[in-house]
């Protein structure tokens, strides 16, 4: 049986990996693909639903970024903005999935940007 020995970097790297895996596992139990928050309404997320009423009110009064605003924030960080009319709705869905992974865009924000792009897409 092969004996596995660890070097001095393996221990901290392994610890970091275990902690990260535990954290991610806990996140994985959260509802999958929660709907993005809509301006003026409380989130449908079960965590938000269980929050105190005061928190929910405060959240509803805060400004929720729109898809157009998020598009302006994210879509020229690495390249010139692409016009929504350049692609079809289905193509934008593919591109936003690509950009969501590549540019580390939160899923909720990505969905709002996608809706903005599809609403103004070429067809």
């Amino acid at each position: 049986m092969k004996q596995i020995k660890f070097n001095r970097f393996s221990v901290p790297a392994g610890l970091a990996g275990v902690i990260s895996a535990a954290w991610i596992t806990s996140l994985a139990w959260l509802p999958a693909h929660a709907d993005p928050p809509i301006a003026g309404t409380a989130s449908t997320n079960s965590v938000a639903a269980a929050a105190p009423a005061a928190t929910a009110v405060a959240a509803s009064e805060s400004h929720h970024l729109t898809g157009a605003e998020l598009y302006s924030i994210h879509c020229n960080r690495c390249h010139p903005e692409r016009y929504p009319t350049e692609r079809t709705g289905a193509q934008w869905k593919t591109i936003m999935l690509h950009m969501q992974v590549r540019a580390n865009i939160p899923v909720q924000q990505s969905k709002l940007i996608l809706k903005y792009l599809q609403d103004n897409s070429g067809r």
Binding site: N7, S20, I24, C78, R82, I95
Partner: protein
Amino acid sequence: MATKMQMKTNVIRYGVAATTGLFCLAQAGNASAEVSDADFNALKSAVQQLGEEVQSLRQTNQIETQTHQADLQQIQELRSKLAETQQTAVEAKQKSDAVAEVQSQPPERAPIDEATVNHNFMMLGDAEFQYDKSSGQNGTFLLADFAPIFVYRGGDNILYEAGFDTFLGNNAPSSAGASTSFQLSFAQLDYVVNDYVTFVAGDMLLPLGTYSERSAGWLNKFPDNPLAVDALIPGTGVGTQLRGAIPLGQSGQFINYSVYGVNGESSADGTGNARALDLGGNVGQLSNGGIASLNGSPSGGGRLGYFVPFKPHYDLEVGVSGMAGQWDNTLDMVQSHVWSAGVLDAALHLGPNFEANGEYILTRYGSGDQGEVTQQGLFVQAGYRLAGLNLELPAINNIELVARYDAVHDGLNPRVERYTAGFIYYITNTLLFEGDYEFLHSPDPTQVDHMVLQLSYGF
């Protein structure tokens, strides 16, 4: 017509008055004297004639009255028809307005074809062409780079993407013709597990800093990569990764993370000599057809980033990333050497016309012949679009001035520094013409100052 009727009525009145007058005259005559038969007959005839005329006039009046009634009825009918016509016109205008309103609204969007919702295939990527004039050398057209990314989306959560690079170059010295290289840049499967976790597997772009993941030719504002990125860290690794982003509140802030395990580095010649470090060759498929990692343990790494937008076009992203693992080809963990890297990255946008970003890279690795080798490098670059000057000149507004400083010290050779200044002319938002001049400070005589012109296109 009313005037005509009045005239006829007056004629009748005058006839009756005349008859009455003649009758009175006759009575007056009788009173004064006897009337002869002839006079009586004449008078009688006159009275009869007048009676006939009155009768005729009455008949005429009756006919005229009937005609007048018919005219009034016709007028009433015409008025009724006019009212109907006006109502029809109003209704027609209302219908016309309704049609115009409908036509002025954008056409209703047809539902997206279900097949393309479930899956979709696209080709993204970029292409570059260069002209290079190096100091002391002939200027030359250079680089026919076509770099497609084939992207296939299956459903809402699965994406497969593979990027390629094609290069054109001379054949080996003393050989005729040219050769084309076609190489796989990356090939990875992305599966969105939930809102916070995405699983990635394959030959992945590694998140050591952000440059490697966001450096396609038309994204980079310069025609070449920073020296330190090319020399010190691997661009890809074969393995698996978990990554995602977690929003912080509703203001757009979020943290993003990635953790991964890959085959890692290896030795180009199987030894532990420092110059044999191979950052990208340990892909699992051996040259002899075997399947194995070239060393005894995989590498691990990750990145933690924080993004804060102040408002659209104003934002800051900072990140820290690292990676560590065995690099030489020995399977003996005790005798093996460790390679490790740490990267700090930052990107800043101040309005739509200014951006700056940079990375600092530090790597260390043990070796059999050089002992512990420490490498470090950095790059800082900035761009400013002249549209920010509000000069109202289209040609000027399309220009962005760029500058970069980068340096690398690989621990084995003297430090190399480079200063780059140039411009980008945005022909369209995806077709860019770039011009740069690079000042190199290097002990390597082949690394000299040069000018590069590049046409790049993103698709």
